[in-house]
């Protein structure tokens, strides 16, 4: 435990989802002092996103799988000394070269910089110092553009699920679910369970492609069981599954009225004459998940390309990045689901504790966790390969389709930058067109721009480099050299008074009695 106000934590965990929670509680149980930072008021991340207590959900588990795994983590958090810091948006992690109080974890200390409040607009930026950092930053949803996708009523598939899980609302009454990846099945079954009519799930890949990975399937039976559960739910709700198809057009003037679903060939090129119109008032669309890694890439951590054209952090067998003292767990190391995230969070915590306390990790525990990790990672890679966007998808686009939603840059302008002006990567396209220069810093258009710049060849996964993980006001930057900037330490009062216009109450999420 930190002894004085300036004493750093042993470990700062960024993200309180499955990986971060498992990492924080394990590290706490092994005797480390831990700070757990997360943007949300409640723990759980995106997978275990739950309604606020004031919404009085008696059966929150109705929207979840493996609910008991989460309630177990929550109970362990409540019993621990982990300092949960909700409403903290981490925008940068830096190496603090002041007094080298290494504490055995590395050289010098880490400084984790956060803005506070519900949407980061609080007046009090804070800094947390720690001997080690565990990045458990999760993922965001990958999007591929198509005509009409900026119309109100078109929402992310994960977005629809997030709004449902936390706000108990639906984007419409008749919701088509489209894109690619296993998340679509989960989204469709939860929307249908919550009362939406789901006319179709439109999947660009063919599910038969899983048959090419028999070993990964055979060694991960729980994944097959999950698929069967979703499949049964879809049958029960009379949801039609339309594989090897895509939504190629959205109809409506101010909001979605219908979509056109078109068959795709093996390269995801639309097959002429196969378009069929489906009436709906909303469309939930997404193409899998992208590891959220910019805090690490800013520190020059090594990355690895994944079979689905995204980029993840390269980690060693104990979850450490290529930068000493910086660990990662969960989706940041490659999208593999909540179960794998919990396991990796635990493994990382064991490794951090061994480093900080200067004693070897429990070999049996490490071996067992490592074995299970490899098995689940193999399935994750198979899944990524099955749902990787094929090179023909840009044929969905018309010249006036917006590709970059923030800056309203059309496919026509991006093609011009590539074909006439010689841009060969996303960065050059950005310099020529502003695509990726907006508020979201290329998260929504990055995958698409990379494909368009590759001109039909295999695209280089976006670098996921963003100097700021979240936009911050200049006032937050101004406090960086300010010696009076609040330091969050164990011995202080709450550091999460957001100040300013945000009056969210941040109650550390530690409800011992779980429904």
């Amino acid at each position: 435990m930190p002894l004085s106000a300036s004493e750093p934590y042993d470990l700062a965990v960024i993200g309180a989802g499955s990986a971060g929670l498992a990492g924080a509680v394990t590290a706490g149980e092994l005797g480390l002092s831990v700070a757990l930072l997360d943007t949300s008021v409640q723990t759980g991340g995106q997978f275990y996103r739950t309604p606020a207590p004031t919404l009085g959900a008696v059966r929150p588990e109705a929207l979840h799988h493996d609910w008991s795994a989460y309630t177990d983590l929550r109970r362990r958090l409540a019993r621990s000394d982990v300092r949960h810091l909700p409403g903290h948006h981490v925008w940068s992690v830096t190496k603090d070269d002041e007094e080298g109080v290494g504490g055995g974890a590395g050289d010098g200390l880490w400084a984790v910089h956060a803005v506070t409040g519900a949407d980061g607009g609080g007046e009090r930026p804070v800094r947390v110092r720690a001997r080690a950092v565990l990045l458990a930053t999760g993922a965001y949803e990958r999007q591929l553009p198509f005509p009409g996708w900026t119309l109100p009523g078109v929402v992310g598939a994960g977005g629809a699920q997030a709004m449902l899980k936390s706000g108990l609302v639906l984007p419409g009454r008749r919701v088509v679910v489209a894109g690619s990846g296993p998340l679509l099945l989960a989204v469709a079954s939860s929307l249908a369970a919550a009362g939406a009519r789901v006319p179709a799930v439109v999947e660009a890949s063919g599910y038969l492609r899983y048959a090419r990975h028999p070993r990964a399937l055979a060694t991960n039976p729980h994944k097959a069981a999950e698929a069967l559960i979703h499949g049964a739910a879809l049958l029960r709700h009379r949801v039609r599954l339309r594989p090897r198809s895509a939504v190629t057009e959205v109809h409506g003037t101010d909001r979605v009225e219908a979509v056109t679903v078109t068959r795709l060939d093996r390269d995801w090129r639309p097959v002429r004459g196969t378009g069929r119109r489906i009436a709906c008032d909303a469309l939930a669309v997404g193409h899998g998940l992208v590891p959220q890694i910019e805090l690490a890439t800013a520190l020059d951590c090594a990355t690895r390309p994944l079979p689905d054209g995204t980029r993840a952090l390269a980690l060693d067998g104990l979850q450490e990045t290529s930068v000493r003292g910086l660990w990662a767990a969960g989706e940041a190391g490659g999208v593999g689901g909540a179960q794998l995230a919990r396991l990796e969070g635990e493994l990382a915590a064991v490794a951090v504790a061994a480093r900080i306390l200067g004693r070897p990790a429990h070999a049996g525990r490490v071996r067992e966790l490592g074995r299970r990790r490899e098995r689940m990672r193999a399935f994750a890679d198979a899944m990524a390969a099955v749902h990787a966007p094929a090179p023909g998808w840009p044929r969905w686009l018309t010249d006036d389709t917006d590709v970059c939603r923030c800056e309203e840059v059309t496919a026509g302008r991006i093609r011009e930058a590539v074909e006439d002006l010689g841009a060969r990567d996303g960065r050059t396209v950005k310099l020529l067109t502003r695509a990726g220069m907006g508020w979201c810093q290329g998260r929504m258009c990055g995958a698409a721009v990379a494909c368009l710049a590759a001109r039909g060849r295999t695209a280089e996964p976006p670098a996921e480099r963003r100097p700021f993980a979240t936009p911050v006001p200049l006032s937050a930057l101004a406090t960086l050299d300010d010696p009076t900037m609040p330091l969050v330490t164990e011995s202080e009062g709450p550091a999460d008074d957001p100040g300013g216009h945000t009056t969210t109450t941040f109650e550390p999420d530690a409800s011992p009695g779980d429904s």
Binding site: T39, G158, S166, R443
Partner: protein, 104 residues
Amino acid sequence: MARTPAELVGAQPGPPFRITFDGRAVTALPGQSVAAALWGAGILAWRTTRVGGRPRGAFCGIGQCYDCLATINGEPNRRACLVPARPGDTITTQEGHGRAALGV
């Protein structure tokens, strides 16, 4: 079979309250984000884009896409999917960058 999300999870929310959207009364439940309250009222757009003046609302639902920026109590560029709704909140459609008053 549940007919609504609230029914699915057996929600027994605290007393609803009122916010306004462009002067129109909207009922919100305690604990909902501004975006969730607007969706609950069937409102899907609360911003117009800077270049084309096109309507936008919540898209990613998790604070990553910035499509859901709204003017809340006079302050532009708030992420409606993250900001909790509070009794009496005044939400107005954000035109472009939301800072027309600056004349830039």
